[in-house]
Symmetry: C2
Subunit: 397 residues, 2 copies
């Protein structure tokens, strides 16, 4: 009684739900404080104070009809202008409001862009490991996701492997940097190599292959590592940004799309993405929070707290003998499964009331993702459990 | 360089945009105050004070991580429970949180439901005149919208004409009451007749035909006219509600879906709609405004002001000789085009700097929609213009 596409998704969803319910079962049995849930990318840190002040100020100084009313599908012009200026100031670009479409988070942004680009049977490429929803988003428009294999052990995207999955049907490549699940920041060198491949292949096939840069973790970079601004390296790029992590606002569904004027068929595509936003039922990004984030463009979540978690978890796990990718950004630790079996690793952890996600869920078996956007004490108190897992799986220093 | 579907939409969109730009051109030429724009359903009245207080209270008494964080795709359990209780109290139903999914407005709600139900080639029926986006929403999932002809002059939906468009491929029927564009409230008699047809046809074809009740105007009913609660008349119903009009929050994108436990394949479908909400990129309804509306469930927009507009416009137009459907609800006046040519009517109005939408845009030529969610003075000051239109088109009392 449901569509074939949804039947397949409902079937698949039960795996994730099973993990969620297992967490609840364990919490009921052992107490919530004795369950160590590293499975979700849900920030445990509050938004900066500036967000609350901004919401209050908007309520005080703006007419309610303007705060809560419709605006053009692309968003409030003044908000789009403020966003463009903020990007320009930080990245040396030269965008205007005419390059910005406010979106219902990065997920809404990706869907509006994919709806605009894809005919049935078109292909979109991504690098493993990748955020599992990309496949669902592409399937919404009857496209097919083609996956370039993981580049072990650096997890930098490999332009060579990208080249092997690009065909005449490829309309776009999705990248995500800082990366979920690896924590790797794609280097300028890696991005330039990707740009070279896309330029060559666009010419070969006589149609642009667009880059879609999914950037919810842009502001979460540690040790001053640079996150290159992708439109400067490849103009046929859509940037899909979200404040979910940078301002800890994941429930608010607020982000934006950058479409550079240099992008091929800019006007046609900009208009089409706006229309797609309407036709898909987003209509526009939520209005009050649009006005609020425009006043917090220089605010930041507490990245030092994430950094402390990063170091505590990395030091703890490596001292036990686990092999981890040292994260440059985001809030995920990408850990090699002892013996190479990520499902066995996840199962052994569950015996210690520790929950995290197998790499198989990101098209990269043999690894696992441990989300450290949790209280630091959760990391510290989980270490005896990790020690038992290490013993059980024969990990040694 | 854009998908075939979007190319068609972009082409079509230029008609609506042309009207919008014409309005701006006229405003620049004659001054905004001399242009009478009745084209958009954008409430001109502010939300009730309770909304602002509720947002402030949520900010003050709830932890920021809880206000702005992720929750399950269906929404905050406490919000869903409060919504269910409010519906039960007012309509004598017996819903719980398990029947409610919070949505990104009614547009998001409709898309999540249609994604759940439709395979390519499936059909959805609607009654003319209907909100033009229904066709786009159905096309998102490769379905086809089948339109029952308008029932002139009452514009009550005709069960007989519905029966003629239902086939073995029909998966759902969309209704909208109080109706955009006619202002008609579907009577219990009309709804019972629809229910009888759907029950008969579901049996005949061996699969349920669902009713989808699009209800952004539910609270906007005048003179105490009853708006029947549809799930009580036909259990295989999805209610798609929005606070856009009832609390004047169209920019916030906040609404909900009701799925009754009695609906065929309830559990499977409830889960699938939640997943569709995630996979389409909505993820969840915006969080702060979810928490705020849950505290304003008994608040109301100023319906007396709409009522005054309704009477002023109806009296003004009919005294000039125009034939109007007297609106029972919503904030639209449905006016017969003098001579039967709605495009000529709209063109003659534009000469007087008066803007409204031809019935052709709602699959019902020969009529026009005048949105009276404007300042009352706009209605009063437009009357000399309407008088000239009447004279020009030979309307007489």
């Amino acid at each position: 009684m449901i569509s074939n596409k949804m039947a397949a998704l409902a079937q698949n969803n039960s795996v994730i739900r099973a993990m969620f319910e297992e967490g609840n079962r364990l919490a009921a049995q052992f107490g919530r404080e004795n369950v160590f849930d590293f499975s979700l990318g849900n920030p445990n840190f509050p938004p900066p104070e500036a967000v609350k002040s901004a919401i209050r100020d908007v309520l005080d100084d703006t007419s309610p009809v303007d705060i809560h009313g419709y605006m053009s599908n692309a968003g409030f012009p003044a908000v789009r202008e403020a966003v463009a200026h903020s990007i320009n100031r930080r990245h040396g670009t030269s965008f205007s409001s005419g390059n910005i479409i406010m979106s219902v988070g990065a997920a809404g942004a990706l869907n509006s862009v994919l709806k605009t680009l894809l005919n049935p049977g078109d292909e979109v490429a991504a690098f493993a490991p990748y955020f599992v929803e990309y496949g669902n988003y592409v399937a919404n428009y009857d496209g097919a996701l083609k996956v370039a294999p993981p580049n072990i052990p650096t997890f930098q995207p490999s332009a060579e492997s990208l080249e092997t999955v690009i065909t005449a049907k490829t309309r776009a490549v999705i990248i995500n940097t800082p990366n979920n699940p690896t924590g790797v920041i794609y280097s300028e060198e890696s991005l330039r190599a990707i740009a070279r491949v896309l330029t060559k292949k666009s010419k070969e096939f006589g149609a642009p292959i667009y880059l879609i840069s999914d950037e919810p973790y842009r502001e979460l970079a540690y040790d001053g590592v640079c996150v290159p601004y992708v439109t400067k390296l490849y103009p046929d790029t859509f940037v899909c940004y979200s404040w979910s992590k940078s301002l800890s606002l994941p429930g608010e569904r607020i982000g934006y799309i950058v479409i550079p004027s240099e992008l091929e068929d800019f006007s046609l595509i900009f208009d089409a993405v706006s229309i797609a936003t309407r036709v898909l039922g987003f209509v526009n990004a939520p209005s009050l929070i649009q006005l609020a984030v425009a006043r917090c463009l220089e605010a930041q979540t507490d990245i030092c707290a994430y950094d402390q978690n990063r170091r505590a978890l990395y030091d703890g796990l490596t001292s036990l003998g686990f092999e981890c990718v040292f994260p440059q950004g985001a809030f995920y630790m990408w850990v090699k499964a002892p013996g190479g079996d990520d499902k066995a690793f996840v199962a052994a952890a569950k015996d210690e009331n520790i929950l995290f996600v197998p790499g198989t869920s990101f098209a990269c078996p043999g690894y696992a993702r441990i989300a450290y956007c949790v209280a630091k004490s959760t990391i510290e108190r989980s270490m005896p459990g990790f020690k038992k897992i290490a013993a059980k799986l024969g990990v040694s220093k």
